[in-house]
């Protein structure tokens, strides 16, 4: 990088933070002409506190419930001012996307504003200390599911398939080049994009930070996290082969699953297969 970093190297994120990796990689792709928004969440650390910020681009701290509404306003105002070469980026976590932010996300997509909505999914409300979200996986420990979450995670990607996204994709910190490729596509489309990035969190999931990328890769290899994208009405599964038996290894590396029962592990494996089957069927259509 002979170019200056557009994101500070010295921020007080956790060591090994996948959210930071996603944010940094995103700005490498999107460049200087980007306006970013963060809600109160882990990504707010990048927006900074006191009189300091980590972004080298303009940023706006929103409220948790309505980042996509803020983004709608920014996107339209840029159009009014005749500015068409600036990317509007929303950088929210699973809380601000699946739960409290769901209404405004759905609204912003429905209205078709030109903006990229990245969701970094660390499967809990991490910034407030690891409380469960609807994105938390089945059986996982969080501070509000101390004996393991009883519900499967909400499938936001399938839900959003029924909205008119100009570009939609899943991605992972386990494959940064794939994430960057997808983000480039999102930048080009004239409408709303949604990129859902898996972000295994060492602090919240209880594993040593150096395992972050390995665990993200295991999620992909076991089929727990499927990589796919949707554009022009068609789904493309990026990675066909996975080994559902690797779910056991995937879970065993995470402290949040230290007490998980065999039954739950079997449930999780069933879910992996179920989701893949649905996605495979949907892949046959070209009218999505």
């Amino acid at each position: 990088m002979s170019e200056m970093n557009l994101v500070s190297k010295g921020m007080t994120t956790c060591a090994g933070c996948p959210m930071e990796l996603i944010g940094r990689s995103a700005i490498e792709v999107l460049g200087k002409k980007t306006i970013t928004m963060t809600p109160p969440s882990c990504s707010a650390i990048l927006t900074g506190s006191g009189d300091e910020t980590g972004w080298g681009i303009p940023s706006l701290q929103t409220v948790l419930m309505s980042l996509p509404a803020f983004a709608s306003g920014v996107s339209e105002a840029l159009k009014i001012r005749g500015i068409d070469d600036v990317t509007v980026l929303g950088f929210a976590g699973d809380g601000g996307t699946f739960d409290i932010g769901l209404q405004s996300l759905s609204g912003a997509i429905e209205r078709g504003h030109k903006a990229i909505f990245i969701c970094y999914n660390n499967e809990a409300y991490m910034n407030t200390g690891n409380q469960r979200s609807s994105a938390t996986s089945l059986g996982a420990f969080t501070k509000t599911t101390p004996t393991g979450k009883k519900e499967s995670s909400k499938n936001i990607d399938f839900m959003l398939l029924h909205q008119n996204l100009a570009y939609q994709a899943t991605a992972s910190v386990g494959d940064i080049p794939d994430f960057k490729r997808k983000l480039k596509k999102a930048k080009e489309v004239d409408g709303p994009s949604f990129i859902h990035v898996h972000a295994p969190c060492a602090s919240g999931w209880h594993f040593p930070p150096n395992q972050t990328i390995k665990i993200a890769k295991l999620a992909i290899e076991s089929g727990t996290w499927l990589l796919w994208e949707k554009e022009n009405g068609k789904i493309k599964i990026n990675r066909e082969k996975f080994d559902v038996e690797k779910v056991t290894e995937y879970l065993s590396l995470q402290g949040r699953y230290s007490k998980v029962s065999e039954e739950i592990i079997e449930e999780i494996k069933k879910e992996v297969n179920r989701k893949y089957q649905i996605l495979k069927k949907l892949e046959e259509l070209d009218c999505l």
């Binding site: 190297k9 994120t13 990689s25 300091e52 080298g56 150096n210 972050t212």
Partner: protein, 102 residues
């Protein structure tokens, strides 16, 4: 001070007089002092594939004539060592270095 922070310091004067909560200074914490173990690249094994730089969450690794780690900021998370396909990065306890923390 990293380049981004330096560049921004030059612009601060022109932003005086703005009303409301805004932050123009770049946060520039010396997060290198968090480190327990320092990643050291063995240049004989390194093939400059850039994977360590791609996966470093804080962007502390750069490809120059060799791969260079910015130890002012490196938190010692160890992702680079774990991901290196050539096992060319060793994590060495800070106390082994003259300028090492403890």
């Amino acid at each position: 001070m990293q380049k981004l922070a330096e560049e921004r310091m030059k612009k601060l004067e022109s932003m005086k007089g703005l009303k409301g909560p805004y932050s123009a200074k770049i946060v520039d914490e010396n997060t290198g002092i968090w480190r327990k173990d320092r990643p050291v690249i063995n240049n004989d094994l390194c093939i400059k594939c850039n994977i360590c730089a791609t996966y470093c969450p804080i962007g502390a690794i750069e490809k120059q004539d060799k791969m260079v780690i910015d130890y002012d900021y490196c938190k010692g998370c160890g992702i680079c060592a774990e991901e290196c396909p050539k096992s060319a990065i060793d994590l060495i306890n800070e106390k082994n270095f003259e300028d090492g923390g403890n």
